[in-house]
Point group: C2
Chain length 506, copies 2
């Protein structure tokens, strides 16, 4: 028997098993359990030692196999052995186990050091009207078109190559397409290169890895997308928030910051900023470049929403305006197509992209190749452009519905931005309203959104909230804002009442 | 005309254009170019200003459209304007541009700080017999089975959900499957949780992010997979290498390290270690757990090769033997199926996995969902197990061919490991041979491998090299080693000759 030929797993303990009492009160499996447990607890059977298969032990001891199985089950339940399908059971408890099991490994002191990011409590429910997520509506996904693109990739002669280990720079046919397209659009300078990333999020992460040391200052918009705060804060960066209004970042403050305490880099969301929806005007883009260049500070242009302009005229990218090569541009397929496929890219000066590629290789080797190939097919077949047309029409309608419903339902004193694209709109409630209080009440009425605190960098803005409208139909948007308007009005009355006694106390 | 209605883009400069000389020597497009370039260089046309469309300017100036296009092309070539398809052309040069263009943004001081990892020079060529990459053979990929799994996913009713933004913990049906399978195999403890990652590489990265601060010591095997060194070194970790021999890590040295200078964590590759191919024996696994627990140090069990055992009996995972919850286990689909799909997972105590999930969200939001869904289908349909059978048969054959060819062709004085699985075998050449010198010569004869220095942590091992055999047929393996044996013998003679005169000098 294989069991006896293995010298690695001792079976001497078998000799110490006493004959079982077939007439005794205790069932045989219980007697067997007690004896084996005793062997394990005494240390005679060592941790890691393999037990005979139930069939073998049944044969050796002249017992029914079910008896052995029952005893093993009790041992397993007691944490003394562990079964591994196809390999048998092993001793996992030990002489010391009963005493130490209760003082298991304590991870807390190890985990306490690196700070935990702000996370969003899950908000869900069938009837909930959720303005929470800045993502496209999956009802608009062109599933048949997607299937067709997948099938085309499956029929390709280089399918095996797609499934093989790839390059940290990206699936070469996609990378080449994106770089050529960037050149065609006047975005790429002669010395530029491009790397495919897992969406803009990973591009931000790679830039942080390459450029940041703990304690470095980074200038970002305030309020800003929480994922941007979290990734930089997680690297120990000091975040310097520069206020964003309806017209984009406050250039006077940014200039002062660049001049007096130059950060390691600036991150700017040029189009339809998350959460405000603001687009940076041309004059600010040029001003930003002048100030950043004067300070020797590079610009990270985070631009996941650029393809989603519903109104007005496009403004040239900061990257395009920068002839000095101090800007890196981040874009993505995820907002305009399928967020579940994690494919974005970074375009910038070769020395930076080279280092990002090394960091990418250290992070996760390369971006998933199947999705890269499918998205390239989706683009080259013209399906993305067709889909984009539908997304733009729906987005325009949804944005208009949101703005109209804000006008109709939000109480006097409320203010909101008027984005020209993207997925988000920023609402500021009349003081002293707190968006967190409003959220609690709104949720009980079936409406959810994210309060401003999720996006705060250095300024508190308790009365602000983000409405993400792209995932909701105009009907839902209207109904959601009707409810929200009512809740806000109620909260405002409550807040006013609360103030009365306080005033009397003064 | 839209052009005139835009107040954002001034056109006052148009008024300053002098009438062109239709009889002059200089062609009209050249005259126009000179005038517009002058406007830009003088600053009268500001950077970012939009130029009229060629058709519009042709109409305004009473010129042929081709003349305007030619002038614009010269301006673009000169870096003064940039075209953007569908949006027109913009001024990108400026008054200061000619002077500053040559002193573009200097990235070098910013990039110099964070160290650059060791990278492998590209080795390729049609006839090259390459032992370089530790990856499966794509000739073995079951493409029809893969297509069938993809098509099944495309027909699923939750396809839209797969394409939508997902969870940082992973595609829930896959995550649940992996957790249940881990429980069934006795790997998961009651308090354990699981996160899907972009392969084992990202799991290592996330663990580093959660547990490490710059300067922290981490104990790793020496030699070790370069990707493991690079990701930890990139975070500023101090790497303490513990020698690995044919029987796995040197336990006496590891114990001493844990006892005297406890690292932040230990990373161990329990099965078919890369690059040595060594498997950690049961006694060492238990000893490691004892020593790590005594020192309060967690264990990271890096186990991407576990499914690729060709010979001998499986040893229980360190994770399975650890009843105290101080171990996190990393596994992956990439070695046993398709490396181009980046899907692996980490199984460990919930507090650690919770923090890894937060870090994952900051890194790249979540792992690509299409590949997660396709791999789950590939597993649940039984296709992975069938494919694994073929991979094991091919692997056993390739390993045997490698060992036989080493015996037959490597010169006396060479030594090599005898792995029981995986993709790699470690060869040590007779002193004073240097594997780097041998590589240079081998490449000129059409054979490539990675010299030991790519895997070094703290010990130099100039005579060592890695042979990755999984991607080559037995015929290629035999031919490659025949060439390599000859090259080594030649290098040895050369090295011996080199020593003669040196000896005479003493």
């Amino acid at each position: 028997m294989l069991f006896f030929s293995s010298s690695q797993y001792g079976i001497l303990w078998l000799m110490d098993l006493l004959p079982l009492d077939h007439q005794g009160e205790a069932p045989l499996y219980r007697q067997l359990f007690d004896q084996i447990a005793g062997q394990i607890r005494s240390g005679r059977m060592a941790r890691g030692e393999r037990l005979p298969a139930t069939r073998e032990l049944a044969g050796l001891l002249g017992l029914n196999r079910a008896t052995i199985s029952a005893a093993y089950e009790m041992l397993e339940t007691g944490g003394l052995i562990a079964g591994h399908v196809g390999r048998g059971s092993f001793v996992t408890g030990s002489a010391a186990a009963p005493a130490t099991a209760s003082r298991g490994f304590d991870w807390r002191p190890l985990l306490g050091r690196n700070g935990s990011p702000v996370t969003v409590a899950p908000l869900s429910g069938k009837d909930l009207i959720s303005f929470v997520a800045s993502r496209p509506s999956d009802a608009l996904f062109p599933l048949d078109e997607f299937r067709a693109a997948c099938r085309a990739v499956l029929e390709r002669s280089d399918l095996a190559e797609i499934l093989q280990l790839g390059s940290p720079a990206g699936y070469e046919p996609l990378r080449r397409h994106l770089l050529e397209e960037s050149r065609r659009q006047g975005l790429a300078m002669p010395g530029d290169d491009l790397i495919v990333t897992n969406g803009c999020q990973q591009a931000l992460d790679l830039i942080g890895r390459v450029l940041l040391a703990p304690g470095d200052r980074v200038a970002i918009e305030d309020p800003v997308y929480a994922g941007l705060k979290n990734v930089l804060a997680g690297m120990g960066a000091q975040l310097a928030g520069v206020p964003v209004g309806a017209d984009g970042i406050d250039m006077a403050q940014l200039r002062r910051l660049l001049d007096r305490e130059p950060p390691r880099f600036v991150v700017i969301t040029s189009n339809f900023q998350n959460p405000t929806g603001a687009t940076l005007p041309l004059a600010s883009r040029l001003g930003l470049l002048e100030a950043a260049h004067a300070a020797g500070v590079p610009v990270v242009e985070n631009d996941p929403y650029c393809d989603l302009r519903y109104l007005g005229e496009a403004v040239p990218a900061v990257k395009q305006l920068d002839q000095r090569g101090g800007t890196v541009l981040l874009r993505s397929f995820s907002k305009v197509s399928f967020p579940g496929l994690r494919v974005g890219w970074a375009l910038g000066p070769k020395p930076l992209i080279d280092r990002m590629r090394q960091a990418k290789e250290a992070c996760d080797l390369h971006t998933d190749q199947l999705s890269q190939a499918v998205l390239l097919e989706f683009v080259e077949s013209g399906r993305l452009e067709t889909h984009r047309g539908r997304v733009l029409a729906a987005g325009a309608e949804r944005l208009a519905a949101t703005l109209a419903a804000c006008r109709e339902f939000l109480p006097a004193g409320s203010a909101w931005t008027r984005p020209e694209g993207g997925m988000n709109l920023w609402v500021r409630l009349a003081p002293p309203l707190d968006a967190g209080d409003v959220l609690a009440s709104a949720q009980s009425h079936g409406v959810a959104f994210l309060p401003g605190r999720y996006f705060e960098v250095s300024r508190r803005d308790a009365g602000a909230l983000r409405l993400s409208f792209a995932g909701l139909t105009p009907e839902k948007i209207r109904k959601g804002l009707e409810i929200l308007g009512r809740v806000i009005a109620e909260e405002w009355e409550r807040a006013s009442e609360d103030r009365e006694p306080a005033a009397a106390m003064v």
